[in-house]
């Protein structure tokens, strides 16, 4: 390998780069799924939405009261949340009323990305135009912690009266309902009872919320991997071409080895070792680089794929969540195709008569 140092180093760089990209996508999507599962484990067991003509409609207090007698339900609370477009930063905020209260009238608590985008801090005043055109102002009472950014980046928490004044929502109406069910085995039964009592509603279960985000991250990572698969195929073709177009030196080397008594399997074993060591080096350094790219630097190469056109984007650092199966899959996906692509042409040269090879 040292005799063809330049070529092997170039191949190692490209190979390691492929492993790096593939591993980065796998680690990133896996960590996001893990993080979303941890967060959504605390989501309401069921969210009930009212649907009119297939569209989401506000829920009345009567709907809330209709559910309160269901056995197995610990509590029903009306959620008040909505969107407000801010032309200053050209972003949508999610305005929300904490069900348990905790925000004084006339004040607001901002999510970290929102505060960053507005350059706002505690004591500042933020104003919105309400449904009637009037200006509604809030004094910022606090900023949500940075480590909650994945759930709270664009949140703006306000008091219930302020919310209803801003959006013109009458008392007793809610955006949707959140149901808390202590026994996980009763969730499906409660959902069925909800639909019996409120046929114009739909019930979204917590496991559906988690499946939604799993599917989103899987889909996005697949879309990133699709162009990569073309690059992987190109790399396999490159490896095959490299091995097929053995230089005169390499062919003579194999011929000499055969002439001095090496058997075909010895030549193949040597080439297998060469290819295996190169693959192993590329896998080790590519995987380590991918790990620190995703969990050390927060994946700057992949973040734009998630961010899209978002102005308010959470600033978060993912907790490493790597499974042994992922590493094994990565190893087999990257090492075996290369070994196969290089071994077959070498075998063809190795079974050729040494005299013919050396000429």
């Amino acid at each position: 390998m040292a005799r063809r140092k330049g070529r092997n180093l170039g191949l190692l760089a490209v190979y390691g780069g492929m492993v790096f990209l593939l591993a980065s996508v796998l680690f990133y999507s896996s960590a996001l799924k893990h993080e979303s599962r941890l967060l959504l484990a605390e989501a309401p067991e069921i969210v009930v939405q009212r649907m009119i003509a297939g569209r989401h409609a506000p829920v009345s207090g009567e709907h809330l009261r209709a559910l309160q007698g269901i056995r197995g339900l610990r509590g029903v609370e009306g959620r008040l949340w909505g969107y407000h477009y801010d032309p200053v930063v050209r972003a949508n905020y999610t305005l929300m009323v904490p069900p348990a209260g905790g925000v004084a009238q006339g004040t607001a608590i901002l999510g970290p990305a929102l505060a960053r985008a507005r350059g706002a801090g505690p004591g500042d005043v933020i104003s919105f135009r309400g449904h009637d055109g009037g200006l509604v102002s809030f004094r910022i009472a606090g900023i949500l912690p940075g480590d909650t950014a994945l759930a709270s980046a664009d949140l703006l928490l306000i008091e219930e009266t302020d919310f209803r004044t801003l959006f013109g929502i009458p008392p007793g109406e809610y955006t949707d309902l959140a149901l808390r069910i202590p026994n996980a085995r009763e969730v499906q039964t409660v959902a069925e009872k909800v639909l019996e009592r409120l046929p114009d509603s739909r019930a979204i279960l917590r496991e559906e919320m988690q499946r939604t985000y799993d599917a989103i991250f899987d889909w996005r990572s697949t879309l990133v991997l699709l162009p990569l698969s073309g690059a992987l195929l190109a790399f396999a073709i490159l490896a095959w071409e490299k091995a097929s177009g053995l230089s005169a030196d390499e062919r003579r080397e194999i011929g000499i080895l055969k002439a001095v008594g090496w058997e075909t399997r010895d030549v193949l074993r040597m080439k297998l070792w060469e290819g295996g060591l190169l693959s192993l080096l590329a896998f080790l350094f590519g995987t380590v680089a991918a790990y620190w790219h995703v969990f050390g630097l927060s994946a700057p190469l992949l973040a734009p794929v998630l961010q899209g056109w978002s102005v308010l984007y959470p600033d978060f650092r993912l907790t490493p969540a790597i499974e042994g199966g992922q590493l094994l899959a990565l190893f087999f996906l990257t090492v075996f195709p290369y070994l196969v692509a290089t071994l077959v042409p070498v075998w063809r040269a190795a079974v050729t008569d040494p005299d013919e090879v050396m000429r």
Binding site: S152, W219, L284, V311
Partner: protein, 107 residues
């Protein structure tokens, strides 16, 4: 001239030693990375931070795709919201192109 067979005549390193050293270095770095991953998971607090906020506010969606409403709250989106701006409206945000509708909308 150094006589053959003496320690000074023996080569210092095998030709393959640098490569083996690199592989060993790679393996050590990977091991340290996995150790870091294990320690990070162990240090993660059970409560507080994000999960506590989700529970306190009864949140159902993550604030990760904030460019469009149906991307911000995919769990509670309906079938029409991506196309509701006007008749024949096309869905045009990058998130929508990279995001399938939630399964419970079409199961």
């Amino acid at each position: 001239m150094v006589p053959a067979g003496t320690p000074q005549a023996r080569p210092g390193l095998r030709p393959g030693s640098p490569l083996l050293a690199l592989i060993l270095l790679g393996a050590v770095l990977l091991g340290l990375s996995l150790l870091h991953a294990g320690m990070s998971d162990a240090r993660r607090p059970e409560a507080g931070g994000g999960p506590a906020l989700v529970r306190h506010l009864a949140l159902s969606d993550l604030a990760i795709f904030t460019e469009a409403r149906y991307a911000r709250h995919p769990v509670t989106a309906d079938r029409f919201v991506a196309f509701q701006n006007h008749p024949m409206a096309l869905e045009h945000f990058p998130s929508g192109a990279l995001m399938r509708p939630p399964g419970h909308l079409y199961e």
